[in-house]
Amino acid sequence: MPLYHNDDQAMLKDSVAPFVAEQAPVSHLRKLRDEADATGFSRDLWAQFTEMGLPGMLVPEAHGGLGMGHMEAGIVLEEIGRNLTPSPFLATSVGAVAALAHAGGTQAGRWLSAIASGEAIVALAIDEGAKHRPERIATTATRAGNGFRLDGKKSFVVHGHVADMSIVSAKTDGGITLFAVPRDAKGLTADPRRLVDSSLASHVTLDGVEVDADAVIGEVDAGEDVLNALLAATRTGAAAEMVGVGQGAMDMTVNYLKERKQFGKLIGEFQGLQHRAAHLYGEMEVARATVMKAQQLLDEGSEGARLMVSVAKAKAGRAANLAVREGVQMHGGIGMTDEYDIGLYMKRDRALAEYMGDVHYHIDQVARMNGY
């Protein structure tokens, strides 16, 4: 498969890009922020997403979805990134769907169609500390009655306080297991914190939460594969969103270079800025290609996907970070003001960079996967 969008994908982009830009531009984020919105996203906007079938893009057709791939989901995520749109799309429609579809079984039957119909928001309760270390799980699931009892603490759970279900990773006797924990489960509390990018992520406490045996996603002790599917999808999606954030910041900055005058010239005439902008362009193009390659390998079910996903998260992380830093610097003083959007890009990039493993985590993963 060539590494560019085919006609169907180009058509999808042509419909999604103007939709997101019109319905949820950066002013949409500002409005939610300034109103101190307690949900973390607009349910009206999610209903519009649903009308377009977007929440179920990755859901298999048998469960009422569109049965599309990561390349297609990436098109939506890039626009979400470019417009800084607060949305449950990444966690719910990409991460959770990947885990549920991979595992199949009762929970897939219960939640996939609810996601596709826009009714269910799902949170990913994977992290436990300030840094992403999904393999180090302290949360335990012990057999109790007909099911399990969950105890532990999770952090950086995006939409955790409003999710209809949370996917929780826990240690079981013979490995790790993923559980679908419904919002009304007794002993489950979510403490939402406002983050630098105005999003809401929760510290989640599981204090003797009792779930039925069929709350297991996949098989008991065999959660590693399911978790890996969740992580690969969410990381690739986050990388695609970062490409959107970086591209949005870069475009805004390059436009500014063509408007702002100093010393009687447009500042874009200065070679000192031209070279930095051109370097950034190269980094962004490479990041975009890398993310597409990861999406393609994931969609093909290739063995090489795991490596490329970490490469993509790391590369997109570096490129988008450069884009927002150069963006603020090249905007000069106004780049420091809340009135200009470029600072919002910097904030969103920082949160996405940390989400599902930062640059350093994934560089380390690349070393490990190459045997050093």
């Binding site: 874009g268 031209q274 993509a312 994934h362 050093y372």
Partner: protein
Amino acid sequence: MSDLEAFRADVRAWLEANCPPEMREPVRDEDDVCWGGRTFVFKNEAQKLWLERCVEKGYTVPDWPKPYGGAGLSPEETKILRQEMKRIGARSPLDSFGIWMLGPALLKFGTEEQKVHYLTQIARGEIRWCQGYSEPGSGSDLVSLQTFGDDKGDHWVVNGSKIWTSYADKADWIFCLVRTDKANKYQGITFMLFDMESPGVTTKPILLISGNSPFCETFFDDVAVPKTQFVGEINRGWDVAKYLLGHEREMISGGGAGGDMVSIGALFAKSLGKNDHGELDDPILRAEMAAFDVDVFAYRAMGERFMDMWKTGRAHPASSNMMKYVGTELNKRRHELVMSGGGSDALEWDSDESKGGARARGWLRTKANSIEGGTSEVMLNVIAKRILDLPGA
């Protein structure tokens, strides 16, 4: 089975039957590269056989039309051939500036007669070409070139000198930018072709910091060039040159865009050793190598996307400048890490153990990557103006 799958099966079978085992070994030094030409001496029988078989099949230039010595493959088929060659580690049967640069120029600007004549020679490895672009006073500002062709009716008399002519001392013919109108800077240059054995042509190798001399100074002293030996139109050679520079950038951007770059950390874990956790036993170097590996794997994806888009007309025409910039900077960084990984062993200049200082000389050679074929700074200028549309100069 689709047509492409059938083609892949055919290619695989053909390679299996025809690529000699010696030609599946990695290229170790310059001797292993087949350049062709009138005076080329094959290193061994396998190298000769591999060239002959590929020539017969059109695989030295697979995507050129059959009448010109190619195999007439589509972009998809060419990609499959390259993938299958890479899969078995097959060496390139023939490397040449004729294939990389003159060929594409002739395909676009040449007459039918020129295509049949010159392209076939190139495809068969019969004539080795060199490129006469830069001059001592015209580097990045190439269009200021002064080598002059005086119009004598049926021929030009060319005087001047070129510099950085790669392997001019080994080349049979030169494609050369020559000023034919002193009054017109951009539309006063002609893209000429002539035999390096013409009276008045001399070459002088230049000793580089690597201790090697792959480049020459080339002098023209009243060289007569028939007025049939030019590409495109007289005085419009700059158009050909600009087109060709795009191809040169595509080539320099790294032989398959980083495709042959393996994980550098994995390479050095063997020589540097690992700690109890199985990590390369030098944490800061490990981190730098891993960060580099990320960039290499990312650039490979970029190379694939660039080629997919380039071959189908989807790429921005100036995007080869970005590829060249990113690829050459990456290659320089790679060789800095090769030197760090090698430690004092890598400093050795002429010992047998160091294969004649291969690492040190290779490291120094890479410093030219971001100078030749347009400096990194020129690439950034082009990106800024042609892709980002930034104002000024």
